[in-house]
Symmetry: C2
Subunit: 295 residues, 2 copies
């Protein structure tokens, strides 16, 4: 296993343990929703977003116990969005991470509620004193995540995506869609470390540049994998965008140009980290990994 | 119009104006979700929860500008829960406040996203510096609302409600269900003023006692109106619980006993306010209003 895969696996393990603690099961009559929340978040995923939180926090010497809570909160929001996006009224997917989606394993109502509760729980985690002793830092985390996830962030991106087939998006339109739908949470992952570490503006901007380019590269490869990927490796259905007549980076640029552009963006992302020392090597390696992955 | 109806109308107007500002429309491609959020929150509702925030804040001399933001955030969470509860996979309702429900007016996907974005937006509002200059107060509001709305709060209550027909709930079971499903947000409304006003423990406990009894009385009357109410006045379908074989306060106690119990609870709620001066008269009048209303 390469070094970056080992690092991702270590983060995945730490965030998994934290999610397991935060979403503790009990015997309450509402336990079905907690079960579904656990099903949606535990046991799978590359945990790229938590990795960004842990690595960006590492740049500023933030305590791991703080960072892992923020990583878990971000992953809750990411997983809630997958649960809702998979619903019949949205993308109508049966498989996620190689397993039945939450509404297939449970039912639609439980999936809607589990998503709602995961989103809510993320803010409970961030606002709790265990996340950081300074309330100003916790408030900034709450505000940044809610901005990233809301109507002019991730949810807005999903809204555009649902109408994308009608909108006939050009390159600018697809870029904005993806900036909202996947880019904003990736940004938050990188900003989280800067917020926890009370970073100066210059290093915040460097991280913003990195996450901007990383997010786009990530999405370009996602679009390529939707066309060329192995559904067994991916653990989900492929060729969905083309079937729905949606404009993607691949439909607009072709596979080869999209791949070349993703590689350029990964280089550019790494360039933004120039002022950081070797503690940014994890983030550098991630940018490479994101464009080289096959699932 | 009685004094309490006038007071409720004044709060409704103030919170409506605040929601209109907070959910400003623009020309962005994701504007459909903002439209649906506005449709879900503007133009209707008794605004009981915002009233609790404004009145409890008034007990501690909190600035109206702070309180109305918290009132709007709480109403966003209440309205998101209505949007999701009305979905076909949940209660499958076509009418709400006399108008088509959000998924009937737009579509299911938009309704899911609008609910998600309203919930997210509530936390953006609470965490923003405009809500209170002290981040410790804002954090406490975020944490209290997320606890009230989450898997062991409102969402948990809805989860139990969906399985209620199978659970064969007794009086204790129905009471717990309703404490979670409607009681917790009502509690938050009363606690919000105490948090904003940095109340001492004794007055917090008094407000907790008030909201506990008020919430149960409110729900008992709701159950009575579901059996005896006029659907035109209520703006929604009635007799849904009975049709679904769900245990309610009315099915367990009968209409007369449920009404007598609601009146006792209203008296008890008012008794909890004994240590407050005439600034608590709005809360006292609300307790009366809640058990006397016909919709």
């Amino acid at each position: 296993m390469t070094k970056i895969k080992k690092a991702l696996a270590a983060t995945a393990e730490a965030v998994e343990a934290e999610l397991d603690r935060l979403l503790a099961q009990d015997g309450a009559p509402e336990r079905r929703v907690v079960e579904a929340m656990r099903y949606a978040t535990l046991g799978g995923g590359k945990r790229v977003r938590p990795f960004l939180v842990m690595e960006s926090a590492g740049l500023f010497g933030v305590a791991t116990g703080s960072a892992v809570r923020v990583a878990a909160a971000l992953e809750m929001v990411h997983c809630y969005s997958l649960v809702h996006d998979d619903l019949p009224a949205m993308d109508d997917d049966d498989l996620r991470r190689g397993r039945p989606t939450v509404h297939r394993r449970y039912d639609e109502a439980t999936a809607i509620l589990a998503g709602d509760a995961l989103l809510t729980s993320a803010f409970a985690v961030l606002s709790n004193v265990k996340t950081h002793r300074e309330p100003g830092v916790r408030c900034e985390l709450v505000e940044a995540l809610s901005q990233a996830a809301g109507a002019h962030g991730m949810v807005g991106g999903q809204m555009i995506d649902l109408t994308a087939a009608q909108l006939d998006l050009d390159m600018g339109g697809v870029t904005r869609l993806q900036r909202l739908k996947t880019g904003r949470l990736i940004d938050f992952g990188c900003q989280a470390g800067a917020i926890l570490g009370r970073s100066d503006t210059q290093r915040r901007e460097a991280l913003r540049g990195y996450s901007h380019d990383l997010g786009l590269a990530f999405q370009m490869i996602d679009d390529i994998l939707d066309v060329e990927g192995n559904p067994d490796l991916l653990g989900k259905a492929v060729a969905k965008d083309e079937g729905q007549g949606k404009a993607t980076f691949v439909s607009l640029m072709g596979v080869d140009r999209a791949r070349a552009q993703a590689e350029r963006l990964a280089d550019q992302a790494i360039d933004h980290l120039g002022s950081f020392d070797e503690r940014a090597d994890g983030l550098r390696a991630l940018a490479r990994f994101v464009v080289e992955r096959d699932h």
